[in-house]
Amino acid sequence: MIAGGVDREHILARLRERIVAYAASHLSRDAAEDLAQEVLLVLHEKYPQLERVEDLLPLSLSIVRFKIWSTRRKAARRGEYTQVPVADIPLPDPDPDPAVLLERRELRERLVRAMATLGERCRRLMRLKLQGKTFPEIQRIMGAAAINTVYTWDFRCRKNLLEAMGGDWEAKP
């Protein structure tokens, strides 16, 4: 348990470094520090049972993304970028944020368009991935000689897809 605790502390320390560096490329340095602190706080308070990096890292990435998005919304709401009259600020809505819904819908549409430009092998590979097939399963289905071949195919297909979408999954503002 102690060893596990040491590992967790070590993982969280590493995570903090990575999160700060990543967030600093999107926000100011101070804001990045604050954001990393908030992420660790959430992990500490809400997910104390998670100790493995395979659990902590994806969770922290989700929190980071949410926090960055939230920070930007707050900045907009505070008029840091544009001054908005108080009367125009919408009341909080418990339903999913329309902006989030719109962003997801746009991403989905861009994905559909970009996938239409892929070659047949990439389309088949993507289809199998969306069906939940793992890489070893895809290797058997597609008759690849080695798993590394599938990794390479997927790496290239992902690169092509990303290029077809303009270099980023999210639409640039």
């Binding site: 590493r14 890292l57 289809r127 939940g132 790496f155 297909c157 992902r158 980023d168």
Partner: protein
């Protein structure tokens, strides 16, 4: 798994298709590599979008559709290649059409016979015809005769290749322009008491070329005597016949137009430019027949004289598997 290999697992992160070991390797690498961590963080948007089952179903449906057909402009390279190939084929066809090998031209030439010394003592003979040079006459053959004619010409070419020095030594002189306009019949009807005929015997129609005998066949530069013999042996490529002959008076070689003494026994030296069987006839009588080799002179046995002042012999060369070539020889005696 190396860091580079772990990077290749990025595509499986968003779709959630990584195995436990793959996830472990990817995340461990991301903890050590800020660039990979950033890439992983950027994948979060896609992972979030694909985590929605409806979005996943929509993408799957889009992927099930057949690949959209390429627009016509994507075929431009192929269209260009096909067009270039067509142009190249057309160019080759035109080139082949224009490159059609020139048809062989056999030149018939009539020249004034030189007056050799023996002629001075000869009785008055009909005045020799005025010097006439016939224009080059294109060899005419009906289509049915073409295979045989081609066979003969092929043999000619083959032998010409064997004697390039001779060919270079005597290029054919161009005929006088004024006479080039004369019809071919004028040549055939030209008054010439001594004529030789070369007959390329085809299976059906004959390919016939007539030439005057004032100058022996193939001895275009012949002026009589030894010089004529030497000149005759150096006939040009295009007009050189397959058969050349000279008269042997003892050991001395004389031009074919030499007027022999009455009762003189001579031999003939025959040079065939193709291998085959040589037959010398006088009328229906076969005087000699023998196989000959290309460009190897063949000497006939002595030919006793007759009472006639002019003898017409027929020399036939039959190449193996080819059409026979017949040459008329005219021996004149000073009777």
């Amino acid at each position: 798994m190396t860091r580079e290999e772990a990077r290749k697992l990025l595509g499986g992160y968003a779709t959630g298709t990584l195995t436990g070991a793959e996830r472990e390797a990817l995340f461990a690498a991301a903890m050590e590599d800020q660039e990979l961590f950033d890439a992983l963080a950027r994948e979060e948007a896609l992972r979030e979008a694909l985590s929605d089952p409806s979005a996943k179903a929509e993408l799957l449906a889009a992927l099930e559709e057949p690949e959209p057909r390429a627009a016509w402009w994507s075929w431009r390279p192929l269209i260009g290649a096909v067009a270039m190939a067509g142009i190249a084929l057309a160019a080759v066809a035109v080139w082949r059409a224009t490159r059609e090998k020139p048809r062989p031209v056999i030149v018939a030439q009539v020249e004034k016979a030189p007056a050799p010394a023996p002629m001075a003592a000869a009785p008055p003979a009909p005045a020799p015809p005025p010097p006439v040079q016939a224009r080059p006459r294109r060899q005419e053959a009906k289509p049915a005769a073409k295979p045989a004619a081609d066979t003969a010409m092929d043999a000619l070419k083959k032998d010409e290749a064997n004697a390039p020095a001779e060919a270079a030594a005597a290029p054919p002189p161009p005929p006088p322009p004024a006479l080039q306009q004369q019809p071919a019949k004028a040549l055939e009807s030209a008054p010439s008491p001594r004529q030789q005929q070369i007959q390329v015997q085809a299976q059906a129609p004959e390919l016939r070329v007539e030439r005057a005998a004032a100058v022996a066949t193939g001895f275009r530069d012949a002026k009589g005597g030894a010089a004529g013999v030497a000149g005759g042996l150096a006939a040009s490529n295009l007009v050189a016949p397959l058969l050349q002959w000279t008269i042997l008076r003892g050991d001395r070689e004389a031009a074919p137009n030499t007027v022999l003494d009455a009762g003189e026994t001579v031999r003939l030296r025959i040079l065939a430019r193709a291998s085959g069987t040589l037959t010398l006839r006088e009328g229906d009588q076969v005087l000699v027949t023998s196989p000959v080799e290309s460009m190897v002179p063949f000497e006939t046995p002595p030919l006793p004289a007759t009472q006639a002042s002019s003898r017409v012999l027929r020399l036939t060369l039959t190449p193996p598997g080819g059409a026979p070539l017949t040459l008329s020889l005219n021996l004149r005696y000073n009777n």
